[in-house]
C-alpha cells in the first residue's frame, strides 16, 4: 500500500559558510561578488505576494544558494499548524529551491494569538508527541525534510521529563527531521538554566546536524539574552570548535539582526569560522 503522504526531499550535505541576508547589505549582495557560500533569509520577510522583496531574493538566488529560516511556523502550537502559512512557505520554497528550510523548536501562536517571539516548549512526552505530529504535517506540506533550531530560553517548566537535547534527539528519530544547531543558543540556555553545554552537544544526534548558527548575546540583569546585536564571543567560539569536532563540516553562518555592522566586519567573523573549519577534529577538541 502506498504511503498516504508525498515523499519528502532529504537535505543535501553542504559544508559552506554563509551570512544572513539583511536589508543593510542588499546592495552589496546585488552589486558585488560577496565571498559567501550561501545566504540565509528570514522566510516570513519574503512570504509576501510580490514587489521588491521577492525581486531582490530572486536576484540574490541567481548568485548564491539560499536557506529559508522561519520564525513563525510555531511547530509547538497545541492547536496545530496554520495551513495558509504552510501554503505560502511552500510557494516560496518552490520558487527559490532553497538549500534548507528551517524553523525553531518553539511555539509562537495559540488560538489566533501570535506572540512574534520564540516561546519555550516544556520538554514533556505530551509536547514531544505534538511536535512530532506537527513536524510530520509540515514536512508533508512542504515536500521536504526540515531543520529545527534549538532556541535560547529563559524559563524551564515544572514537570519536564527529559532534557532539551533528549527531546531534540527523539524528535529527529521519530520524524526524520534534521537539526540547525545554534551554538550561541546552547551557550545562553546552558548559562541561564545551569546545564552543561557539552552534554547538550554530546546528546544531540551529530549526523542530523545540517547547519550551525553563530551569533552574539547580551547580559541582562539575571540572564543572558539572545540579542544577535554583537559579535560572537570567545566562549561561543570555543563551543563552536567543540561542535565542529562532533558534527564535522556542515553549513555555518553568522546571524546579526540588530546593530548590523558593515558587511566586511561580518565577513571577518565568517573568516574566523572558516579558520575553525580548517582545523582537524583533534585540534578542535583541544581548542575547545
Amino acid at each position: 500500500m502506498p504511503h498516504p503522504n508525498p515523499p519528502t526531499t532529504a537535505n543535501t550535505l553542504f559544508s559552506g559558510y554563509g551570512l544572513g541576508l539583511r536589508k543593510e547589505h542588499y546592495r552589496d549582495f546585488l552589486e558585488t561578488d560577496v565571498p559567501v557560500d550561501f545566504v540565509e533569509v528570514i522566510s516570513e520577510n519574503f512570504m509576501v505576494e510580490g514587489g521588491q522583496p521577492r525581486h531582490i531574493l530572486r536576484q540574490v538566488r541567481e548568485r548564491h544558494p539560499v536557506a529559508l529560516h522561519g520564525v513563525s511556523m510555531s511547530i509547538g502550537s497545541a492547536d496545530g499548524l496554520d495551513r495558509e502559512y504552510l501554503r505560502r512557505l511552500r510557494a516560496l520554497a518552490d520558487e527559490i529551491d532553497p538549500l534548507f528550510v528551517s524553523d525553531h523548536l518553539c511555539w509562537t501562536r495559540i488560538e489566533g494569538f501570535n506572540s512574534h517571539d520564540l516561546l519555550p516548549m516544556p520538554y514533556t512526552d505530551e509536547a514531544l508527541d505534538l511536535v512530532c505530529a506537527n513536524i510530520a504535517q509540515a514536512q508533508d506540506a512542504l515536500g521536504r525534510t526540515m531543520l529545527f533550531e534549538n532556541p535560547s530560553s529563559y524559563i524551564a517548566f515544572a514537570g519536564e521529563s527529559m532534557t532539551e537535547w533528549e527531546f531534540l534527539a527523539e524528535m529527529c528519530r521519530r520524524t526524520g527531521c534534521d537539526l540547525l544547531l545554534d551554538v550561541n543558543n546552547i551557550y545562553v540556555s546552558a548559562t541561564n538554566h545551569g546545564f552543561d553545554a557539552q552534554a547538550f552537544l554530546a546528546g544531540v544526534p551529530a549526523d542530523r546536524v545540517r547547519q550551525i548558527h553563530l551569533a552574539g548575546h547580551s547580559a541582562g540583569k539575571d540572564l543572558l539574552i539572545d540579542t544577535h546585536d554583537t559579535a560572537v564571543c570567545a566562549e561561543v567560539w570555543a563551543l563552536y570548535a567543540q561542535a565542529r569536532a562532533l558534527v564535522g563540516p556542515v553549513a555555518t553562518m553568522i546571524e546579526r539582526d540588530a546593530d548590523v555592522p558593515p558587511l566586511r566586519e561580518l565577513l571577518g567573523e565568517l573568516d574566523l569560522a572558516r579558520a575553525y573549519g580548517r582545523q582537524p577534529a583533534h585540534t578542535l577538541r583541544e581548542a575547545a
Binding site: 521577492r54 497545541a78 489566533g112 494569538f113 524551564a156
Partner: protein, 247 residues
C-alpha cells in the same frame, strides 16, 4: 499542566501581564518571564516605529509610544507575519487624536505605501493593449497594489514635505499604488476616488461612464472617463481588460 493550558496561561501573561498566569507558568518572580514580556512588547513597539516613522516624527516619540501601548493593549497580534501588526494603527490614532485627523491620515498613507510595496505583481496594460477593446462590454482590472480613502486634510502634502497640516477646503481622496517596485501616492478629487472605487468593484467601463455622465452630464462625463482612463493607464493602474460576453 497540559500544553494547551500552559500556552493559554503564557498568552495571558504576555497580553495582560496577569500575575496569576505568571505564577502558574513559572512562578511569579521568575526573571525569565520578564524577558518574554519585554521581548513581546518591544517587538510590537518596534514594528510600529519602523512602520510609521513620519507619524512618529509628527506627534513626537512620547505620544507615539503612548499610542503604541494603547494599540498593543487593545489589539494583540494575530497574523503569522509581524508586518501585519501595523495594520489598523491608524484607527487607534483616529480614536486618540479625534481633533487631528491629519495624524491618522498620515499613518494610513505610511501603511498603504508599505502594503502596496509587497502587493502581488501585475503587468500594467499599455494604451495599445486596449486599442481594439469593445468598450461597451469591457471590464477593467485595477492594480492589486491600489489602496484608496477619503481625507479631510492636506496629509498627502504633509507626507511629502512634512509641512503644517491644514484642513482641505473640500474633502479629497488619496490613491496609493505601485509602479514597478516603487510605491506611489497621489491626492485626487472625491469624484475620481468614487470613479476608481466603482471601477475596482465592478470593472465595467460602461458603468463608469454612466456614473460620470450622471454627475457631469453626458458629454462631459464620457470625456472625463476617457481622460482618467488615459491617466490611469499611464500610471500603471490598469493591469487587465476583458470583454464580457452579453447573455
Amino acid at each position: 499542566m497540559r500544553l494547551a493550558e500552559l500556552q493559554r496561561e503564557f498568552r495571558a501573561w504576555l497580553v495582560e501581564a496577569s500575575p496569576e498566569a505568571a505564577a502558574r507558568v513559572a512562578g511569579l518572580d521568575h526573571p525569565g518571564l520578564a524577558v518574554y514580556q519585554n521581548n513581546y512588547r518591544a517587538q510590537l513597539v518596534g514594528c510600529l516605529e519602523v512602520s510609521y516613522p513620519k507619524t512618529r516624527d509628527r506627534i513626537g516619540s512620547e505620544a507615539f509610544l503612548n499610542a503604541a501601548i494603547t494599540h498593543i493593549d487593545e489589539r494583540p497580534p494575530h497574523a503569522w507575519t509581524l508586518d501585519a501588526y501595523a495594520e489598523g494603527f491608524d484607527g487607534t490614532l483616529e480614536a486618540m487624536f479625534p481633533e487631528h485627523p491629519d495624524v491618522s491620515e498620515l499613518a494610513w498613507i505610511e501603511h498603504a505605501l508599505a502594503t502596496a510595496f509587497v502587493a502581488a505583481d501585475a503587468t500594467p496594460l499599455a494604451a495599445a493593449d486596449l486599442a481594439a477593446l469593445d468598450w461597451d462590454h469591457a471590464r477593467l482590472v485595477l492594480s492589486p497594489a491600489l489602496r484608496m480613502r477619503e481625507v479631510t486634510t492636506n496629509s498627502e502634502r504633509v507626507w511629502h514635505d512634512g509641512g503644517d497640516a491644514v484642513p482641505l477646503a473640500v474633502p479629497a481622496g488619496l490613491v496609493v499604488w505601485r509602479q514597478d517596485y516603487t510605491s506611489c501616492l497621489r491626492e485626487v478629487s472625491l469624484l475620481e476616488l468614487e470613479a476608481l472605487a466603482e471601477l475596482q468593484c465592478d470593472g465595467s467601463f460602461a458603468a463608469l461612464c454612466d456614473l460620470l455622465a450622471e454627475r457631469l452630464g453626458e458629454e462631459a462625463g464620457v470625456a472625463q472617463a476617457g481622460a482618467w482612463l488615459a491617466e490611469w493607464i499611464g500610471s500603471a493602474l490598469i493591469v487587465g481588460a476583458e470583454v464580457e460576453i452579453p447573455r
